[in-house]
Amino acid sequence: MNMYLYELRAYRNVTIIWIASIVGFVLLMMSMYPTFASDAEAFMELFASMPDSVVQAMGIGIDSIASLLGYYSYIFLYVLLCGAIQAMHLGGSILSKETREKTADFLLAKPVTRVAIMTSKLLAALTLLLATNAIYFAAASLIAAMVAQEPYDYGAFALISFSLLLLQLIFLAMGIAAALLLPRMKTVLPVTLGTVFAFFVLTFIGSSTGDGLLRYATPFHYYDRAYMIQHGGYETGFVTASIVIIVACTLFGYRRYQKRDVHAV
């Protein structure tokens, strides 16, 4: 419990900053929605004149972009991007902190098992992500209610917003795996940004080619927002894929964390 609280406190400020930035971004983008909606015709023409593949790569659904959910779906891709960076950075830094800050001799000499250390850290990271999502969801709902021109499907809105957490869990698990694969990692940010942007670019390629199997390699595309709006649910195959990734990375993390030698400086 003491470790859990300690980690929570250690990452509290950075989490607050992330929440503020993501909410700020959504607020900024959504505040433009009323203007956008009223000039929808003109925008539609603009999109129609662009090559199909570009429009798809940018994640724009031409038929739906003028609706609140369509517009939200579009900007949500960037929310996901931020969320992924936040989650992977959190996972990577919380687990590599002892080796980066050379405090392993402090923590690992205490009467606790490594499993307990790792579990406390994971629970703290999970709590922070849950808090991020709870606050994000409340703020986004409020913003949507403010800018909505006509009634919209709140269920679909919730589904879309909730997929932020699902994606964050994937990247949290990847951050954990990265921290243990690269035990001598000095800074977490380059690895995080590299991984997240690599997946993000893959998403662009994936959505413009529309390849079925490639989608499994692009977590950003696991939770297809057009599908959620239409079917009111997630695609089972990709939910399964998420769970597999999360479980595999976490198990790998536990095994490795327990077995590895923690070297002196």
């Binding site: 800050e101 405090t103 000499a109 923690v262 002196a264 400086v265």
Partner: protein, 294 residues
């Protein structure tokens, strides 16, 4: 029952580093010196005992329990001061010590204040702002906070001024009187001479000697260096116990083992410009005291 029991403990890293076949025991209530040059494997041994790294073969037992299997159980009664102390920045000394104390099911607040006062450590400072010596003090308080039965110190004196070093040694002696066993690792022999009952000397990962301090003291070498006007013939110091004679640029040097009065009488007869009598460093002890084993 021995407090620490190493049995053919081996840890290899592929390269030359590591420890090989270490076997020794530390008895209850002992202050045990663990001596060796840098890179000899002292920290590796200690870190293996604490479960930070896992042995390649052999075993280490503390309080009769295996270090790998019963790690958390054992560590409840160990206080450890790492050689290089790094603590979570951005924390005040008090917060860190309280965090440290929270791992032990004991109320350590009173002890924390006592120790901090003794070592003149400001509890309200940020760890970031502390000097090396003060960080070391945080480490000392952190290690002794929960009144451990076994205190493991890895080169604990670096960065402490002589006054603090004395107080720290006093503190250790007091803990020892109260029943704590102490493992004191150092690369400076003279440092442990005062405190320790027994020493283990380790070099390149192997135990080369395990001695009672009293035995070791009796056979310590002194290093003499004399500056003279004219060349000294070696014959002047043709007495038993003189080795490594060298005469260079008007400076004679040699190692001496034996009755110091004999050599002083000879020196008193000489016309000297200068004289140094020093403790030989560890390397020299290894080279001479252990020459018989080579």
């Amino acid at each position: 029952m021995p407090i620490i029991e190493l049995n053919r403990l081996t840890k290899t890293y592929g390269g030359a580093r590591g420890i090989h076949d270490l076997t020794f025991q530390v008895e209850e209530g002992e202050i045990f010196g663990f001596i060796g040059p840098n890179g000899a494997g002292k920290s590796t041994t200690i870190r293996t005992m604490l479960g930070l790294i896992y042995p390649t073969s052999g075993s280490a037992k503390i309080f009769g329990k295996d270090c790998v299997q019963h790690g958390p159980d054992i560590k409840r009664s160990i206080g450890y001061l790492p050689s290089e102390v790094f603590y979570y920045d951005n924390m005040r000394v008090k917060d860190l010590l309280q965090y440290s104390a929270s791992f032990y099911k004991k109320d350590c607040r009173k002890r924390m204040v006592e120790l901090a006062e003794l070592l003149e450590l400001d509890l309200n400072k940020k760890i970031d702002d502390l000097s090396l010596g003060n960080k070391k003090k945080v480490g000392i308080v952190q290690g002794l906070l929960h009144e451990p039965k076994l205190i493991i110190l890895d080169e604990p004196t670096s960065g402490l001024d002589p006054l603090m070093q004395q107080r720290f040694f006093g503190l250790l002696e007091e803990e020892n009187r109260k029943g704590a066993t102490i493992l004191f690792s150092s690369h400076i022999l003279s440092e442990v001479q005062r405190l320790c009952d027994r020493v283990a000397i380790i070099k390149e990962g192997r135990l080369i000697a395990l001695e009672k301090m009293s035995d070791l003291k009796g056979s310590t070498y002194k290093k003499f260096k004399l500056q003279v006007k004219d060349d000294l013939p070696e014959a002047v110091f043709a007495i038993e116990g003189v080795t490594e004679w060298a005469m260079k640029n008007g400076e004679a040097s040699f190692l001496f083992k034996g009755d110091i009065n004999v050599v002083m009488r000879i020196i008193a007869e000489l016309d000297l410009l200068n004289l140094w009598v020093e403790e030989p460093d560890l390397e020299e002890i290894f080279m001479h005291y252990y020459a018989k084993e080579a």
